[in-house]
């Protein structure tokens, strides 16, 4: 797609439809679509400075159950926007009530994994993973503990 916000609704519908086909609940499909929407907004606003004619690639991959992990979806978003250090991509302090700056936090809360990396020649790549098994875990009401490593990857476990 191009970096025009007009196309966000179509992207959400596409992602939700694929997630539904892969067996996610309606709530899960909505949350995945929200995470992708937030990621696209960040690319449009911060990566491309609101240009409407720049490319964004969205790839969707089914994930088979393996090694104790349930089936799920992997979504890869790529752009040719300015590159940033993945370690600098982090959520802000939510105790401060102000407009904006919620996208990264929302992505981290919804998805099981969110990995930011620089593409080889230009732009960034964001890989999002969500497993169907985490849908029940996320609604358990218990605390979730986001973990971050130096490569800009966040993982989440509920226990």
């Amino acid at each position: 797609m191009v970096s025009d916000p007009t196309y966000l609704s179509g992207a959400r519908d596409l992602v939700a439809a694929v997630a539904r086909r892969l067996g996610f609940s309606e709530e899960g499909c909505g949350q995945i679509a929200l995470a992708v929407d937030e990621a696209l907004c960040n690319i449009i606003r911060h990566g491309y400075d609101r240009r409407k004619d720049a490319p964004i690639w969205i790839s969707l991959w089914p994930l088979a159950a393996s090694n104790g992990s349930g089936a799920g979806i992997r979504i890869v978003l790529e752009d040719e926007a300015r590159q940033v250090d993945p370690a600098q991509i982090r959520s802000r302090d939510l105790d401060e009530v102000r407009p904006g700056g919620l996208g990264v936090h929302i992505i981290q809360q919804v998805m099981d994994e969110a990995t930011y990396e620089k593409r080889e020649k230009a732009g960034m790549r964001l890989t999002l993973v969500k497993r169907r098994s985490s849908e029940k875990a996320a609604s358990c009401g218990g605390p979730c503990n986001p973990a971050r490593d130096a490569g800009g990857k966040t993982g989440k476990s509920c226990g």
């Binding site: 007009t6 966000l8 609704s9 709530e27 909505g30 929200l34 907004c41 009530v97 996208g103």
Partner: protein, 116 residues
């Protein structure tokens, strides 16, 4: 009443001293400016109570939330009571994720919002 061809419609009415803003449609990055404009226009009159009826909003992302946070900041400066009402579960969940469900005054219905 305000309408826009970007896929969102926002209506405005005044009732019993309250200004009620009711967006209809998805509130995302492409459409939140329309809601922002409607809220700004409503707040220019400094109403005693500003109610945002969200019963016809099926989807909201963080740009919509940011618009409402901005409106809340203005409302506080103007001593306007601002209440959100009629939220669908999908919209409420983003407020919970952003931990704003305890910052805003949220009522289940418009009637309760008029008295909150």
């Amino acid at each position: 009443m305000m309408a826009d061809d970007s896929g969102i419609r926002v209506t405005s009415e005044t009732r019993d001293g309250a200004t009620i803003i009711a967006p209809e449609g998805d509130v995302d990055l492409s459409r939140s400016p329309v809601l922002r404009s409607a809220l700004r226009q409503a707040q220019n009159t400094r109403p005693k109570r500003l109610i945002v009826q969200l019963g016809l909003v099926d989807y909201m992302d963080s740009s919509g939330v940011a618009t409402l946070v901005e409106a809340l900041q203005i409302a506080r400066r103007n001593n306007t009571k601002m209440v959100l009402c009629g939220m669908k579960d999908r919209v409420r969940s983003i407020f919970e994720i952003a931990r704003l469900d305890t910052v805003f005054t949220i009522a289940p219905t418009l009637t309760e919002a008029m008295n909150a």
